[in-house]
């Protein structure tokens, strides 16, 4: 009953900074980018005129944009399943260890923390035909390795490999957390029922239990893979022959090198829409999993 009397200005003051910053740094920019997408405005240009969906029409006709969408899709389709499988295998192996769990978990997560821009330089050295480890090894077994990062047919796959390397740690972590919730009784029951071998139990007990978390990991990895940028910016700059031109790098070029601001804004709006769809899916899956 006293509550209303107590409700002074204090709570409002406590949320005020966050509210102001949310408005100024997230909602306002969001509105700005959407508005820009419907104009002919570019940075340094004159007054903006409303042009409706014209910018989007131009964008969809832009060959570079189509290339970027296609490359991003190929990247995501390559990276996400591989990331999830690598994370799952690592988690299954680690979860069964009696010793060294924390050590393995740390080692496998290390790439996700390592500064990707700096690690791109390291990967460049690893893949380099002259000084790289992988070409050296391939040469030992009698193959003649090419220069993957300079090869339009291979460059995106090479970046994908690095993407898997840097993201699989998250998948492993989430699967490990999921595996902790597999009730031991399930395994015992399965053993009693004669679901004998390790693989049988994996297939009939563990994996079904992990299904919801797998869905979550797939969406999480997709959102991350969609944002691929650092490796492209450091190693290939969209090349060779635009074979690694991906969504964010396209936006980056349009906005900050070519200064076609409205076009970049329209592409950003589509990018946000894609991430939004995936995030809603993630939210839905998280809810379903938590049962709340």
């Amino acid at each position: 009953m006293n509550r209303r009397g107590d409700a002074s200005l204090a709570p409002y003051l406590m949320v005020a900074p966050a509210t102001v910053l949310l408005l100024a740094l997230i909602l306002a920019p969001l509105a700005l980018v959407v508005a820009t997408a419907f104009t002919d405005w570019h940075l340094g240009g004159g007054a903006a005129a409303f042009v409706g969906f014209d910018t989007f029409v131009t964008l969809l006709d832009e060959p570079d944009f189509r290339t970027a969408v296609w490359n991003t899709a190929r990247y995501v389709v390559f990276v996400v399943p591989a990331t999830s499988v690598a994370g799952l295998v690592a988690a299954l192996l680690i979860a069964e260890c009696r010793r060294g769990q924390a050590l393995y978990r740390m080692l496998f997560f290390l790439p996700s923390v390592a500064t990707l821009a700096a690690m791109s330089v390291a990967w460049q050295m690893l893949l380099s035909p002259s000084v790289g480890a992988l070409p050296q090894i391939l040469r030992l077994v009698g193959l003649t390795p090419g220069n993957w990062l300079q090869d339009p047919d291979r460059a995106l796959s090479a970046l994908g490999l690095i993407g898997i390397w840097s993201e699989a740690g998250f998948a492993m972590l989430f699967f490990l957390a999921g595996l902790k919730t597999v009730p031991a009784e399930l395994h015992e029951a399965a053993a009693l029922d004669g679901v004998g071998t390790l693989l049988d139990r994996l297939w009939h007990v563990t994996l079904p239990h992990l299904a919801p978390i797998t869905a979550f990991v797939l969406v999480f990895s997709s959102i991350h893979a969609l944002r691929v940028f650092d490796t492209v910016a450091i190693m290939t700059r969209g090349g060779p022959e635009k074979s690694t031109l991906v969504a964010l790098y396209f936006i980056y070029q349009e906005a900050f090198s070519l200064f076609r601001t409205n076009l970049a804004a329209a592409a950003t709006v589509l990018f946000i829409a894609a991430v939004l769809l995936l995030s809603l899916l993630q939210l839905y899956l998280t809810r379903a999993r938590g049962g709340r």
Partner: protein
């Protein structure tokens, strides 16, 4: 009779994991190797796994002198510290009210947080750049710091933590005559330190490693943060000098890796908790 086979399985498991770990660490190990190679070894037709002569930390010294690497690192520390401090100070009171308060407009603020949670920071680079340009902030620390002073994820995480604090505790403190701010600072914040720790680490990783935003607003080496420094290396003399280049890359990644290794158990537990929320 189960014993021998289960022991064998255990050994195979460790072998697989150790091999996997080696593969995962290979880029890093290769970089460390090259960072200790003398220049003549790098391109020598004769393959040397180990340096043909020990040059110590010569490449590291060259990386520090040939580029403003130290400057980049200091910039990185300053920018990250400022961002994290702001994020924590802004998130705590807001998350507390979102969890326990009853004010008009609460749902709207919560909705804004959720929107912020979904919008990828990279997508805001363009409008934030336009805003920074209009305010004349290009190539300043302010431009590097200000846009990230709010962390919707941080507010989200801290709210989850505050929700677990029993209401009775807060009521009791009120009966003792403590004000809202005192309750928050003295009683509640100590209770949610794991969540604050998770926020600090997530934010540190995100902003120490961020390449996109600095490459948008920074135009000089003077304000460059470490990842943007890597981009600058490539157009500089050091870019074709592999030993110092990799020594530089290692020094850029090392601070964060050290923090991670020292806090890994708490950090990873916090992160998997985050993922399950």
């Amino acid at each position: 009779m189960m014993q021998p086979s289960s022991r064998l399985v255990g050994i195979v498991r460790h072998l697989l994991l150790a091999t996997g770990a080696m593969l995962v660490l290979l880029p890093l190990l290769w970089a460390i190797r090259i960072s200790f190679l003398p220049a003549e070894d790098v391109f020598s037709p004769q393959f040397h796994l180990l340096p043909s002569r020990w040059i110590g930390f010569e490449n590291y010294a060259r990386a520090l002198t040939a580029s403003p690497l130290l400057r980049f690192l200091v910039n990185g520390v300053v920018v990250c510290a400022a961002i994290i401090l702001c994020q924590v100070l802004v998130a705590i009171p807001c998350a507390y009210i979102l969890a326990k308060g009853r004010i008009v407009g609460l749902r709207l603020i919560w909705l804004a947080v959720l929107v912020g949670l979904v919008v990828p920071p990279a997508a805001l680079a363009l409008p934030l750049f336009i805003m920074a340009a209009q305010l004349g902030l290009i190539d300043t620390y302010a431009a590097l710091i200000l846009p990230w002073t709010i962390s919707p994820l941080g507010i989200f995480l801290l709210r989850q933590a505050f929700l677990r604090v029993p209401d009775e505790l807060i009521e009791a403190a009120r009966l003792d005559g403590l004000g809202e701010v005192e309750i928050l600072a003295r009683i509640l914040v100590p209770l949610i330190t794991p969540a604050i720790g998770a926020l600090i680490m997530i934010s540190l990783v995100a902003h120490w490693n961020d390449l996109l935003w600095p490459s948008v607003v920074v135009t000089s080496g003077d304000k460059a943060t470490p990842p943007f420094g890597v981009m600058l290396f490539q157009v500089q003399e050091i870019g074709s000098d592999y030993g110092p280049l990799l020594a530089g890359a290692i020094m850029i990644a090392a601070p964060l890796l050290l923090v991670f290794i020292l806090t890994q158990r708490r950090f990873l537990d916090g992160l998997s908790w985050t993922g399950s929320k």
